[in-house]
Symmetry: D2
Subunit: 430 residues, 4 copies
């Protein structure tokens, strides 16, 4: 079918209009903002939006800060109008008056962002803009009001209903593959050859979510190794195996060994919670012989927790932490260190909490998706990061399709952490 | 590329979940609403949304009215919370407190509609729901508050940036073509043979806008005749010409002779204002020899205006109206009726206003797009509707690419109606 | 990906060249043939081919016959050269000399057809040309030499490796669907509404083979009904059931109830022998619950066989034929006619032969594909054709995937006819 | 549309059949050849073909030679049958008997190759097989008979009508891009970064022909630089310019600076002669401002010609060659060497012949396509290859669309070499 994107048409229109004006004196940012928010024709507003986004991108940090400050200060609502709308509602609290108050209390920032987003390829620029904003929040907490408005709109623009799951492989475009190399956040990809060893062999798969609002930009992706065992170490997975001869007919296990979020500007706009479930379905349909779907995951919060103290912690646990510290400092390698470590990691994941949910961010992700904790491995990741975060430990989370929805509901309701029977003996009662 | 729609995955998930529960006692609408708006797991909420939309669709008009009334009454905001948020803002009218008020004053209807829209294929159902709602507004004006919330969300969901222009022809799917037959609103399409004579011959084109939120559903479409003259009558265009031999190398004129909006549930969510401009670009690229882009348009408001009286109207115009009425009632066919009629139609389009813009809806559309009035034809449409609305008159609007943006800006700013020099002599000064 | 067909480029080139020459005196067919077969530039030859094919298409039957006769008479090989090449080979029968003879003995008709086929869209025209030729063969048997050359080239051009199986449904283009209506050869499709009832409901499927050499032209298609029983009559299948509510989760049976070859010009270029096997695979993947794949097929050769006599026929069979004739002529409806009929049909299919294979063409197709005869139904097809060909009888052939390859090999080797155990008792020993 | 490739279906079928037999004793090559050429079922033959091709690929050079020798010796035709067919034809030299002789004299090698090609992905393997064969011809000239049969079939299988022109850019799949890197034969591509600088910037383009018989394999590709001048040196074109800001609105010139054939196994199956013309059309449609289409081409045969002597050469030319040799050996850099060189290169291209056509292979390609020689540049290519082949000279061939067909026809008929007026003065009359 011969589809033509409206956005491309509009892009051409904007280019031609800008070319007409390029010889004139360029308008200032304030003039452009006035054009954008005023009552001019639609094409003028779209051209102004494009100029503004390009000007913004060329600013230094100070200039960008000035823009955000202006948005925070000058794009609110008229207090007098808000008062009037509120008084109406307070007098007659019906649905029409509530609507009226809602309309009037809308920060003009939202309309500003909406109008900026009318110009072609704007969403990409606005996501980059929010990335900048997030970097400024610590020093300028008053800008959180602006960030809240970004989030409000991004939630709506990035409607999950348009997500597409793409199989990333050696037939994928270089434009996308180059970003996969750049965005891999767990086990870095060294070069195109390393990339190929992750996506091309018949026992490797990679899947990414895309959204039409961000062309060619993966939102989140997962790398998968297919095989006949549940792996207890990342090392063999990352070795180059492009030339191995692989029998694809009797895979029994799919291991999700790396999940990377790609868009810092979309922080808190979640896409990942169904990713693994959809990938499981794809794999099941391609390989009916696969029965086990597990992760091989890092435990990024373990060391921080180990070093911390918590009054509510049981004595047994505190003792164990001390034992581990002693073992670490002892020159003797033959003591029971791995056993202590494994027990500590398990109890960290099963018991350490932030609010009512697990403290570890990777655990929150998988348990929240309905997985359960399946196994804990020491000596599983020799990378610097792996040693630093969790003394080389990694864990398997198990996605058992029979229980996945029930686990998810229990987790949401009670923060319940499911784990396999064989781990039960490691539990330290509090 | 192997893309998999997330929505299809979710659809399968929902079907399987519903199959599990189908044997149980079905929950009531109120129980489902509680599930949907509560803190259950995500899958439960998505399943509840699907059940609710299906239940709604099966209701009679009374049942649907009850649902809308419930939405109007029970899905507002907590007055006490609103008061608190407002007091905060009144005390310290900063951006954070404005955000807070905006959040608190949001009618819960919006969240309800958003959650309904999480389930696969929901948008289609919600557009149908609004079609129902629009039919109830006259008798139940309080539901306009609900409609306002629908519009608020639809504006965001149907982002213009995702529009796709499709060339509709004999290679288009039957699923879409069947809707073209059904939705044609200006010159009815009798059957598949008639359809083919509109889209298959080399001197006919049809283009439609689609949006990924509504699969297979055209939003608006335009039918085009290519030729060597600016036509003054619709009759020859609508004749079957499938077997004519046509020389495609020297077309000079593209005539847009029918534009139909397809989705009543998207009233006030406009998509059409760039349609013709994008089609003009497509045609120019395919046929560089085409220089004239015109419409052959009805004048739907003419007769109504003719029968009405308006104190601000000039005496000359009133006299002309009377002359025409006399000519109509006279048995003599040889009088100057066509000339009077032509003059009246021109002055109606150029001078009759609603607010500051032209009274005629078709004129508003084309002039607002930047076209100008090019010619007025009597004896141009023998259909019952054409005779009833405008005594068989039709007009050409001209899309002259050199002036289109300027015309649009002047129209937006001042309601300016541009017309060709040769029409100037018909103008009655007021 | 942005692919551009070379053929479209060439088509534009040819059009522009022809436009340049159109005002001149048109060359004759003989001049064009000289251009085509001569040593001119490539573009000239391609233009000449297009002219020739268009001229041919405009000829009446006599004119076409003259062309074929010219091809038969004048496009052979130079006997002197053939003699020389043969003498070389006879003297030294090595591979080089065999190649030389093969090259020299090639009828120039092959080169003529190859050069005609260089022009865009030529294959379609050459298939139509052969359709004409087939119609002339009976009266002009000498043209069979020409037909043999067509077949030789078509076998190569329509390489099976490029076949595509398309799922034909309501999303298919009107251009293709219109041809499905036209080409249905077993149970005629009345109109677009009837078509929709065959391809749109969830318990109906239609699949067609396409080949890139013939754009938009199905080669062969099969219609399938999904359900829970092996049907014994065509009537319920052909009823309109668009509005039935259908549970798609527990289909157990797919019935292939209509298979149509679409291209008479491709006679003896077979595409169908893997069609059903590939469709079976598609259906299994979509509906794992389907276990039975059967046909509901006509018995087109039965009546002809019944009326014929064959000396090698057993006495029992001859007696049975006579019994049936008597029953037919008897006014008594309550006699054992259906039983006799069923027995006769079974024995016709199992025993009547042409060469070593079954006499019935539909039986040859399915048994050759590896199916076996599963059941025989009387009173199964009330259409005029069904009554005329086989007294309303139809049969089920069963595609049992476990035995399909073995059946096929046995059939190819020995003409073996497999049938189900329950039919065994009907067999008349010869 | 949901198309399914028949070839993929067949591939699955073959895999499953082979898995069934894998445990058994593997058949020998001779047994497989017997299966393939025998009268077994179709699936058996397809499986045998797959086995044979895989076995062949695993052979060493000696093994491969044995196969080809077997094909040359044992797959000819039965001399007695050939004699019979010839005698028939000699007695009655009509079209039927010619067909009969042609059929009988067909070397069985052709049928062998056709049957091998029935198995999925066979064409790729057969092209590789011919690459091997070409390497053996010099030492084993008797195998040329086998090569001739390969060519005969490849000409038919790689029908030009299926060619697709793909725009190669950063959105192209890694699988294809990797081959572009590998196959670039004129100016080597160093790595992925170098590749990107050739295909991603807005002033660079790359186009390749593909054929459905060879998935993901480019047949021939051309690299293009867009700019405002006709370049006289390759150096600036090959510099990395990814980060330059480029104004794409006023390109006037497209320079084809590298053309590479990709498939040695398809030697003498030409695809390239329309490549540049189709690319010109693509570029014209995208950039109407481009008026000049030129190449920047090497002169690969120059040095060889310079070192050779030719009795038919004019005295003037011989003298000039000697002058150049003297200048080369002289330590003085300031003499007229560039002028002599330029004159020699021009006269080499314009006058040196092989048969009636230019001796230089690149000149044959472009002049045969209808281009003319536009300019000769010294000091244009500093690479080792450029210096070795033509002392750093390069030339522009001009594709002037007004004359391209006429040039082509003149070239084909008379070997005519067109050149620009400004080169005229360099011509040495013979």
């Amino acid at each position: 079918m011969a589809f033509n994107r409206f956005q491309d048409f509009l892009g051409g229109l904007v280019s031609r209009q800008r070319a007409l004006f390029s010889s004139n004196n360029a308008p200032s940012i304030d003039e452009l903002l006035a054009d954008l928010m005023g009552n001019t024709g639609e094409v003028s507003a779209i051209v102004a939006a494009r100029e503004l986004l390009d000007m913004y991108a060329a600013l230094d940090e100070e200039g960008k800060l000035a823009i955000f400050t202006q948005m925070e200060q000058n794009y609110n609502a008229e207090p007098a109008s808000v008062k009037l709308a509120y008084d109406n509602f307070a007098a007659t609290p019906n649905s029409a008056n509530l609507n009226g108050l809602y309309r009037t209390a809308e920060p003009r920032r939202l309309e500003l962002l909406r109008r900026l987003n009318q110009t072609p390829d704007a969403t990409h620029d606005l996501v980059a803009m929010r990335t900048d904003l997030l970097g400024l929040l610590k020093e300028h907490p008053e800008l959180e009001a602006v960030d809240e408005n970004f989030v409000h709109l991004f939630r709506s623009w990035f409607s999950r209903g348009f997500l597409l799951l793409e199989n990333i492989n050696w037939s994928t475009s270089a434009a996308i593959l180059e970003r996969i190399i750049r965005y891999e956040a767990v086990h870095a990809i060294k070069d195109w050859k390393d990339l190929r060893s992750r996506i091309d062999p018949p026992n490797r798969r990679c899947f990414a979510f895309f959204h039409p609002a961000l062309t060619d930009e993966p939102l989140i992706f997962v790398e998968v190794a297919l095989g006949t065992d549940i792996p207890g170490s990342i090392n063999s997975i990352l070795e180059d195996n492009v030339d191995d001869v692989i029998d694809t007919t009797n895979f029994t296990t799919a291991t999700f060994y790396s999940i990377s979020n790609c868009q810092p500007g979309l922080k808190n706009i979640t896409f990942g919670n169904f990713l693994i479930k959809q990938v499981v379905q794809e794999l099941q349909s391609e390989f009916p012989s696969i029965k086990n779907f597990v992760t091989l995951s890092p435990v990024p919060g373990f060391n921080r927790w180990l070093q911390s103290t918590d009054d509510s912690e049981s004595d047994t646990l505190t003792t164990l932490k001390t034992e581990f510290a002693d073992a670490e400092n002892s020159p003797d390698e033959t003591n029971g260190k791995p056993d202590i470590l494994r027990k500590l990691v398990f109890n960290y994941l099963a018991q350490a909490r932030r609010d009512k949910y697990p403290a570890d961010p990777v655990a929150r992700f998988h348990l929240g998706n309905g997985a359960m904790l399946h196994n804990v491995h020491t000596d599983a990741d020799h990378s610097e990061k792996g040693l630093q975060q969790a003394y080389g430990c990694m864990v398997n989370y198990l996605y058992d399709l029979r229980y996945i929805e029930r686990n998810h509901e229990l987790y949401v309701a009670e923060g319940n952490v499911g784990y396999s029977d064989k781990l039960k003996s490691l539990l330290i009662k509090s």
